[in-house]
C-alpha cells in the first residue's frame, strides 16, 4: 500500500471520530426536544409542581435563574480581579505558581465535594441553612476558576502594542489596565462569565446539597429560602417518579433547561467570535 492510500484511510478514520463527537450534541438535543415539546404549555411553564405528576415548573425556572445570577454576581468580580492580577502583575515566583496550582485544583474539584463543603461550611457552620444564598455561594466556588482562566486568556490576548501606546502617552500601569486593557478584553471576559453561568445552570450535585433537595413548590422569597432548580426537578422525576406522566414532565423540564443552557452558551460563542474578528487573526 502506498503512502497516499494509507494517508487517505487514516484521514477517513480521523473524520469518523470527529463525526461521532459532533453528533452527540444534536442527538441529545433532538431526543429531548421531540419527547419534551408535548408537555410544554402555559400551565406547565407558570404553574407550581404538585406531587410528581401534576402542576408546572415555575418555581424551578425562577430558582435556577436566581441561583445562576447570584452566583455570577458574586463570582465574576472576584474572578476578573484574580485574572487581572495573574495576567498583569503576578511575578514569576513560587507564590504565583502556588496560587495557579490551587486555582487549577479548584477547577478540577468534584462538584459533590464542593457540595459537601457548602453543606458543612455554609449551611451548618455559618448557619445559612439550605438556602438560595448557600447554593449560589457554593456554585460560585465551582465557577470561579473557570472565570479566572477565561478572563486571563482574554487579557493576555490584548496585543502588546495597546499597552505600550498607553504607557508611552504617560499613563500609569493601573490606568492602562483600567482604560485600555480591560475594555479591549471585555468580550472575552464576558464569554468566560457566560460559559461559567452555563456550567452553574447545569449543575445538580452542588444545589442538591446546599439549596434544596425537594420538589420546592414556592418561588424563593428571600436569600434564606430553600430554592428549587430545574436540574433537581429533572433528577427527582427521572429517578423517583415511575409514571409516564412524570417522565414526560422530566422531558419537558430538560427541554426548558437545555433551551436556557444553549441560549447562554451560544451567546457566549457569538460574543467571542465577534471579539476574535475584531482583534484580527493571531
Amino acid at each position: 500500500m502506498d503512502e497516499l492510500t494509507k494517508e487517505n484511510i487514516i484521514k477517513a478514520g480521523l473524520c469518523a471520530s470527529v463525526v461521532i463527537t459532533i453528533l452527540i450534541l444534536p442527538v441529545i438535543v433532538v431526543w429531548v426536544g421531540s419527547n419534551g415539546i408535548g408537555v410544554i404549555s402555559w400551565e406547565f411553564l407558570t404553574g407550581r409542581p404538585y406531587r410528581f405528576e401534576l402542576g408546572g415548573i415555575f418555581p424551578q425556572i425562577v430558582g435556577s435563574i436566581y441561583l445562576v445570577s447570584l452566583c455570577s454576581l458574586l463570582g465574576a468580580p472576584l474572578g476578573v480581579a484574580s485574572a487581572i492580577y495573574l495576567a498583569e502583575y503576578a511575578p514569576n515566583n513560587v507564590i504565583t505558581q502556588t496560587v495557579r496550582f490551587f486555582t487549577e485544583t479548584l477547577a478540577g474539584m468534584p462538584s459533590i465535594v464542593i457540595g459537601l463543603f457548602g453543606l458543612e461550611f455554609l449551611v451548618y457552620y455559618l448557619q445559612l441553612k439550605t438556602s438560595l444564598l448557600a447554593g449560589a455561594v457554593s456554585l460560585s466556588f465551582m465557577t470561579l476558576p473557570w472565570t479566572i482562566r477565561a478572563s486571563e486568556e482574554a487579557i493576555k490576548m490584548v496585543p502588546r502594542g495597546y499597552r505600550d501606546a498607553s504607557l508611552a502617552l504617560g499613563a500609569t500601569k493601573w490606568q492602562t489596565i483600567l482604560k485600555i486593557v480591560l475594555p479591549a478584553a471585555s468580550p472575552g471576559i464576558i464569554t468566560g462569565i457566560l460559559l461559567g453561568m452555563g456550567k452553574a445552570m447545569g449543575e445538580t450535585a452542588v444545589v442538591w446539597l446546599t439549596s434544596g433537595s425537594g420538589l420546592e413548590a414556592f418561588v424563593p422569597r428571600s436569600l434564606r429560602s430553600p430554592t428549587g432548580s430545574l436540574t433537581m426537578y429533572i433528577y427527582l422525576l427521572a429517578t423517583q417518579g415511575h409514571t409516564s406522566e412524570s417522565m414526560s414532565r422530566a422531558f419537558g423540564a430538560s427541554l426548558v433547561l437545555l433551551v436556557m443552557f444553549m441560549a447562554v452558551s451560544v451567546s457566549a460563542l457569538i460574543v467571542r467570535n465577534y471579539y476574535l474578528r475584531r482583534l484580527g487573526p493571531r
Binding site: E3, K6, E7, I10, L14, S17, V18, I20, T21, I22, L25, W31, V32, L78, A81, S82, Y85, A90, V99, F102, T103, E104, T105, L106, G108, M109, P110, S111, I112, V113, I114, L116, F117, L119, E120, F141, I148, R149, E152, T172, W174, G198, K199, M201, G202, T204, A205, L209, T231, I234, Y235, A238, M247, S254, L257, L258, F261, S265, L269, N273
Partner: protein, 283 residues
C-alpha cells in the same frame, strides 16, 4: 503608597481566594471525616450503614473500573478527533467543532444521565441481559462526559508543537500523516498524557450522570462482569447524605469519602502539573 500599589495588593488578595477555598474545603471535610478515616475504612469489604460497617473498598474498585473504561473509550475517540482538529481540518470546520465541544463541556450532566436512564439502560437490558444498570452503561455515559475535556486539552497540546517541526518534516519529503505521526505527536505526547490524567480526575468526580446509570446496589460487591451494578464514590455521598443522621458515624464516613475524592483529584493534578511537564498556562 501609590494607587497602583494598593490595587495590586487588593488584586493579589482576590487571586489568593481560590487557594483559600481549597484549604477551607480540606479543613472542613477533615473536621467531619477524620474520625472515620482509617485502614478499615479504605480496605473494608462491607458498606452497610445499618450494621455500622463502613468499608469503601468495593466502591473504590467500582469507581476505578468505571473511570478506566470510560477514559479508554473517550481517549480512543477523543485523541483522533483532536489530531484531526489540530492538523487536518480547514479553519471553518475547526471553528465549528471547537464550538460544539465547548458547548458539550457544559451540557447538564443530569440530562446526559436521563438519556442513559431512558435510552442506554433499556438497550442494554433488552440486548445483553441483566438489569441494564451496569458498569457498561456507566462507561458509555461517562465517556460522553469526558470526551470534550480530552479533546480540548489534547488539541491544545498538539497545537503547542512549533510549526517549524512540521515544516522541517514536510521539507524532507514526508507526507502530512508521516509528519504528524513522526514529528508532531511525539512532541505532543507529554501534553496529551497530562490531558488524559486530568480527564481521569474529571471522571472520578463526575456525579449525576454516573449516579443515574450504575445501579448503586445497597451493599456494593466486587464487580465480576460489565453487566454488574456498581457503586462509585460520588454516588454514595449524593444518595446517602440526606438520610445520614448529622453527627453519626454514617455522616463521618460520607465526609471521609469526600476527603478521599479530594486527595485523588489533588494527586492527579500534581501528576499532570509536575510529573508530566504540561504546557504552562503562562504560555
Amino acid at each position: 503608597m501609590k494607587r497602583g500599589d494598593i490595587a495590586s495588593k487588593i488584586l493579589f488578595l482576590c487571586a489568593s481566594f481560590s487557594t483559600l477555598i481549597v484549604f477551607l474545603i480540606i479543613i472542613f471535610l477533615l473536621r467531619e471525616g477524620i474520625s472515620a478515616l482509617n485502614w478499615n475504612f479504605l480496605m473494608g469489604m462491607v458498606w452497610s450503614p445499618h450494621k455500622n460497617l463502613y468499608g469503601i473498598f468495593p466502591t473504590l474498585l467500582g469507581t476505578l473500573v468505571v473511570v478506566a473504561g470510560a477514559i479508554i473509550i473517550a481517549t480512543a475517540i477523543g485523541v483522533p478527533c483532536a489530531v484531526f482538529l489540530a492538523e487536518f481540518s480547514p479553519f471553518w470546520l475547526r471553528n465549528m467543532i471547537k464550538s460544539t465541544v465547548e458547548v458539550l463541556v457544559g451540557v447538564p450532566s443530569v440530562v446526559i444521565g436521563f438519556f442513559g436512564l431512558i435510552v442506554i439502560i433499556p438497550f442494554i437490558r433488552n440486548n445483553l441481559g441483566g438489569r441494564g444498570e451496569s458498569i457498561l452503561a456507566g462507561w458509555i455515559v461517562l465517556a460522553i462526559m469526558s470526551l470534550p475535556h480530552i479533546i480540548s486539552l489534547s488539541e491544545d497540546a498538539i497545537r503547542a508543537v512549533p510549526t517549524s517541526y512540521r515544516q522541517a518534516s514536510l521539507a524532507l519529503g514526508a507526507t502530512k500523516w508521516q509528519t504528524v505521526r513522526r514529528a508532531v505527536l511525539p512532541s505532543a505526547s507529554s501534553g496529551m498524557r497530562a490531558a488524559i490524567v486530568l480527564g481521569v480526575g474529571r471522571a472520578v468526580g463526575e456525579t449525576m450522570a454516573v449516579l443515574m446509570v450504575v445501579g448503586n446496589p445497597e451493599t456494593p460487591w466486587i464487580p465480576t462482569g460489565v453487566l454488574d451494578r456498581v457503586r462509585v464514590l460520588t454516588s454514595t455521598i449524593a444518595i446517602e447524605f440526606s438520610y445520614a443522621e448529622w453527627g453519626s458515624p454514617h455522616q463521618y464516613a460520607l465526609f471521609a469519602i469526600g476527603v478521599v475524592l479530594f486527595f485523588i483529584v489533588v494527586a492527579l493534578n500534581l501528576v499532570a502539573t509536575f510529573v508530566i511537564r504540561r504546557r504552562n498556562w503562562n504560555g
